[in-house]
């Protein structure tokens, strides 16, 4: 039987309350949201917090909203809620592409957006999604809120800029005219990615005006590839250019061989999935602009 070691348990009722509890229990406390990463780690003693601060009842963190041209996703929003959110899918269809493939439907009922990002697993899907669309983490501490681009949020595997005594409260994304898509290869339903790529495009006529490429599970630094983005901007949006961008992305990855596949296979996937995600985003861009 796998059971976590003993810990103190506190149920926070507000962000202020959670921050107070984090201060009270100090660095050996952990915030628990859906618990679908932390509880398995606690069972295996990979994590052994002395205190758990449960934010499941913190109502103010559960909303998806549009405020001042920003899509704002509260840290306690469950994967299933993001998948079914019309407003999120309308502005960023990449969310629906990715969420359909994150874990399985029952796990998605419990796991949260904030929890997934704070876990900072090198194979996590939303890290690549938010990197592609240039999301921003809203982090609250005793001194107030600070905003950190997701591209600067991760400091290493399982490590983020969220400091002791701080709480990730939301992720927000500036709403602008763009199209986005996500492509993932997994060995079986509900598994982690062998590799996955997210892409966002904004065109000016036939020219790429803005490009975002996010990659997960292949060792891309901070889940994105600026070299491939820079290559695309200013050039035509063609399949040949997307294929080349994929090759550049693959060259800048550092995949490791594991039970999901060898290095060359993962690099191949990084290239192919990048090109496909760009192609899917382009099709959406054209679809949207023909409607208008």
């Amino acid at each position: 039987m796998q059971v976590p070691a003993q810990f103190q348990y506190e149920k926070a009722t507000s962000v202020e309350h959670a921050l107070g509890l984090l201060g009270k229990y100090g660095p050996e406390s952990r915030v628990v949201a859906g618990g679908h990463s932390l509880i398995p780690m606690m069972k295996l003693r990979l994590a052994q917090p002395q205190a758990l601060i449960d934010i499941n009842e913190v109502e103010e963190l559960t909303r998806i909203s549009v405020e001042e041209h920003m899509l704002r996703i509260g840290a306690m929003v469950r994967h299933a809620e993001l998948l079914s959110s019309a407003v999120a899918g309308e502005h960023f269809p990449i969310f629906h592409d990715a969420e359909k493939l994150i874990a399985d439907p029952v796990v998605r009922n419990r796991g949260t957006i904030g929890g997934s990002l704070c876990q900072a697993d090198p194979s996590e899907d939303l890290s690549a999604v938010f990197a592609a669309i240039r999301g921003e983490a809203v982090i609250q501490g005793g001194e107030g809120q600070r905003v950190v681009p997701i591209r600067e949020f991760f400091t290493g595997p399982y490590e983020t800029v969220v400091a002791d005594g701080e709480l990730l409260v939301a992720v927000r994304v500036p709403i602008r005219s763009s199209a986005s898509a996500y492509q993932k290869v997994e060995r079986r339903a509900g598994d982690w990615a062998v590799a996955a790529a997210g892409a966002e495009l904004r065109l000016d006529g036939d020219t790429v005006a803005e490009a975002g490429i996010g990659l997960t599970a292949v060792g891309a630094a901070n889940f994105h590839v600026p070299e491939a983005e820079e290559f695309l901007v200013g050039g035509p949006a063609t399949a040949e250019r997307f294929a080349r961008a994929g090759e550049i992305a693959a060259e800048h990855c550092q995949p490791v061989a594991d039970q999901r596949g060898p290095v060359d296979y993962k690099r191949h996937l990084a290239a192919t999935l990048t090109a496909r995600a760009l192609g899917a985003a382009l099709a959406r861009w054209h679809g949207r602009h023909q409607e208008a």
Binding site: Y9, G35, I39, P105, V106, G190
Partner: protein
């Protein structure tokens, strides 16, 4: 700590350790052994119960997280007037062999039909994609859920 959990409509008050998992609370504290305990890693899905309105894997939920909430287990599926159509479907279509995955499968199937009364085979396979069955190859599980969907639709027509 003391928790109050409403399970299948009954309020249970218990003193529990914070590290007690919901699956063990149900099985060991309340003796509701219909919920099975399997892989312990949120992969197999045999421990699926409803927490409030949605199915969750109860090996990855702390019992204290259910404090003040409602839980529905396989024991709460039949309403006293007879089997739930999902249960009847599994019986009619031989939706189980060893039966180990069945409680979790049925709880997810009930939720699916409440949200999508006419699911396709693909919808059903997607809904239970986080749950493992090593006997049936899923064929009869899909048939069982379709049986329940068709009989519920027919029942509603009779009532209307």
């Amino acid at each position: 700590m003391e928790i109050n959990v409403t399970v299948n409509g009954t309020v249970y008050q218990r003193e529990v350790e914070p590290r007690l998992l919901l699956v063990h609370f149900l099985r060991d504290e309340l003796r509701l052994t219909g919920t099975h305990w399997g892989c312990d890693t949120s992969n197999c899905g045999t421990c699926v119960v409803w927490l409030d309105e949605v199915p969750v894997k109860s090996c990855t939920v702390l019992a204290v997280m259910a404090d003040g909430h409602r839980v529905r287990t396989v024991e709460g599926l039949a309403d006293g007037a007879g089997l739930d159509p999902v249960q009847e479907g599994f019986r009619q279509c031989h939706g189980l062999q060893c039966g180990f995955c069945t409680p979790g499968m049925m709880m997810t199937a009930r939720w699916l039909l409440d949200n999508n009364p006419d699911p396709s085979e693909e919808d059903i396979r997607e809904a239970v994609s986080g749950q493992l069955c090593r006997c049936t190859g899923y064929e009869n599980i899909v048939r069982s859920v379709r049986w329940a969907a068709e009989h519920e639709a027919a029942q509603e027509e009779v009532q209307a």
